[in-house]
């Protein structure tokens, strides 16, 4: 029913067996299977197509070395190509200025508030920083309480102005406040918004202009499907964000949205969320993500068997 890539490659390997090199004919069916598997992994339609085309270009005419089967060679090409697309190494977060301002934005429910607190916790415990959180979501019921509860858990102060409905003002005052208290990082949590909501997109642009963040992070749910391309583009147009956060990777989704976003806006994925607890944050490992999208854990063992 919901076959993963390794099953499909397994089948395709039979097709390739017995050929000395990779030719147009013997590669076509395999790549079609690969494209379908990528779609099942939620890679965007167009990007899946581009990926398989570029794999094909690289594969065609390649002599199969005696030590490698054609199928193995194809898997290797795909893996290298995917890893190259995901970026070669983990990208760092930029914390310039005093205080350095980090702005968090994204769709509703993607995990912004949770991530804001996790990041504060990470910077405090792992990087020796002295962060403050700013609650600039004035819409969602209990959004401020949520951040306050998390702030208490991690022992990081949360700046909020009860009753104030102007997120730009809250963010600015929060930064002023952080300065006087000597906090060297300010993380601004914002309300969830849809890319088609013009008013709300204008609002985040205004916040962005007002706080001049040294790092703007776009938070995306790893379970996102084909829509990732629209959202990433729209947020990037308005914010020109510096990096992406991929949340809820503790689920069983393949996370093809990661490739979609990387290929669409060419911004690095910097952090991943791997749970609801405050320490469930990790820096992004491009190679692991590549393997996850391809279902490679299984593929590698498959190739070893072949």
């Amino acid at each position: 029913m919901f076959e993963n890539l390794s099953d499909k490659i397994d089948k395709a390997l039979h097709i390739l067996k017995g050929h000395g090199k990779i030719t147009e004919v013997n590669v076509a069916d395999t790549l079609k299977e690969v494209r379908r598997a990528l779609l099942d992994a939620d890679v965007n339609f167009k990007i899946a197509k581009e990926f398989t085309n570029s794999v094909k270009e690289k594969a065609l005419g390649q002599k199969v070395l005696t030590s490698l089967q054609p199928g193995q060679l194809l898997v290797k090409i795909m893996r290298d190509e995917m890893a190259a697309l995901m970026g070669s190494k983990a990208a760092d977060i930029s914390l310039q200025g005093n205080p350095a301002v980090v702005l968090i934005a994204g769709l509703q429910g993607s995990g912004k508030t949770t991530f804001s607190a996790k990041l504060a916790n990470f910077l405090k415990r792992k990087k020796g920083r002295n962060p403050m959180l700013v609650a600039a979501d004035v819409y969602r019921p209990a959004a401020i309480d949520q951040l306050k509860v998390l702030g208490e858990q991690i022992q990081v102060p949360v700046f909020a102005i009860e009753g104030n409905k102007n997120p730009v003002e809250i963010a600015q005052k929060g930064i002023e406040h952080a300065k006087t208290l000597g906090h060297n990082v300010v993380i601004v949590d914002t309300a969830g918004r849809l890319s088609v909501d013009q008013e709300m997109m204008d609002e985040i642009a205004r916040i962005h202009r007002a706080v001049k963040p040294s790092e703007t992070l776009f938070v995306v749910d790893a379970m996102t499907g084909q829509d990732a391309v629209n959202t990433a583009k729209a947020f990037n147009e308005v914010l020109d964000f510096d990096g992406v956060v991929l949340t809820k990777l503790d689920g069983d989704t393949r996370g093809g949205a990661a490739l979609t976003i990387k290929a669409t806006v060419n911004k690095p994925i910097k952090f991943v969320g791997t749970g609801e607890k405050m320490d469930a944050i990790d820096i992004f490992h491009p190679d692991r993500m590549a393997d996850r999208i391809l279902g490679m854990g299984d593929v590698v063992s498959l190739v070893e068997r072949a």
Binding site: Q108, A142, G225
Partner: protein
């Protein structure tokens, strides 16, 4: 209006002057479906059905193809009759609704909107704050309760959600309420202990009313990709999901994955969420939903 019907426009161009649905037309169709998260398997199923119909009916023009297309997609959306002929059946009291789903899909918000809707229908509603885990989840539901004027049954953060569910159903009985809606914490379906917790909530509710929960809504975010299949499978196993609610359809995501989910698991979609306000909940309309695939 220019971009509206872009698919129909492309489809029209692709089939202009042709008397059969050829590969080019089918490729266009495949693209529209796949980019709406319909998924490979369901897309191929739809295309096969179109091919069959076309061979049989002798395809004539764009309009006919259009109609056939929409019919075939609509046919996949579960035909399973809602077990109740009214939103809230008169002879079931209290009508107990359990709301489940992965993190952040819109469960709590949907409950607020549902409560407002049921209240408008003249029902007495009680809410249960069964998410005792996520920061300020109880405050969030309480705030919805205040907004629409509906009582919320709650305990401390960190208390047993099954016990909150029990209290809620009991309170609904005591107060002679028509409906009890119970919130649960978001959970990823691959976490066995959290799924077991849901099964326990269900069992505890049944200690008070053996037939309850009468309705178990699985909330799915319209932007979710193929993972929705596994969500539906696992949540169904743990709680016997009766209907789907698709949220955030006011965005650019089309929620196509629910076509396959509804088809394969035979679960009907009952409501859609189209915004964050109290009034942003609508009963599901199959044809409008299918229409939105090709219209935008």
């Amino acid at each position: 209006e220019k971009t509206r019907n872009s698919f129909l426009h492309r489809l029209g161009k692709a089939i202009a002057g042709r008397s059969t649905v050829d590969d080019e037309v089918l490729d266009e169709l495949e693209e529209v479906l796949l980019t709406s998260d319909v998924g490979v398997e369901t897309t191929l199923k739809i295309i096969d059905r179109i091919k069959l119909r076309v061979a049989k009916d002798k395809y004539l023009g764009t309009n006919e193809l259009n109609t056939i297309l929409k019919e075939e997609i609509a046919a996949l959306l579960s035909e399973k009759k809602d077990q109740f002929d009214q939103e809230i059946p008169l002879d079931v009291k209290p009508f107990v609704v359990l709301v489940v789903g992965v993190n952040g899909v819109g469960k709590t918000t949907t409950i607020g909107k549902l409560a407002a809707r049921y209240k408008k229908l003249g029902k007495n509603v009680v809410l249960g704050a069964g998410d005792t885990f996520r920061a300020a989840a109880i405050d969030q539901l309480v705030s919805w309760g205040e907004r629409i004027g509906v009582p919320v049954i709650k305990q401390q953060m960190g208390s047993d959600p099954a016990s909150v569910a029990y209290d809620t159903v009991q309170a609904a009985l005591n107060r002679n309420a028509d409906v009890a809606i119970i919130d649960t914490a978001g959970r990823l379906h691959n976490k066995i202990h959290l799924m077991n917790e849901l099964s326990k909530i269900r069992k505890v509710i049944q200690k008070v009313i053996p037939e309850a929960p009468h309705e178990v809504f699985l909330v799915i975010d319209a932007s979710t990709g193929q993972n929705a299949f596994e969500q539906a499978r696992q949540f169904s196993q743990a709680t016997q999901v009766t209907s789907l609610v698709v949220t955030k359809l006011d965005g650019t995501a089309k929620g196509g994955v629910v076509i396959g989910v509804s088809d394969q698991l035979n679960i009907p979609v009952k409501y859609i969420g189209v915004g964050e306000g109290t009034e942003h909940l609508q009963p599901f309309d199959k044809h409008a939903f299918v229409e939105s695939f090709f219209g935008r």
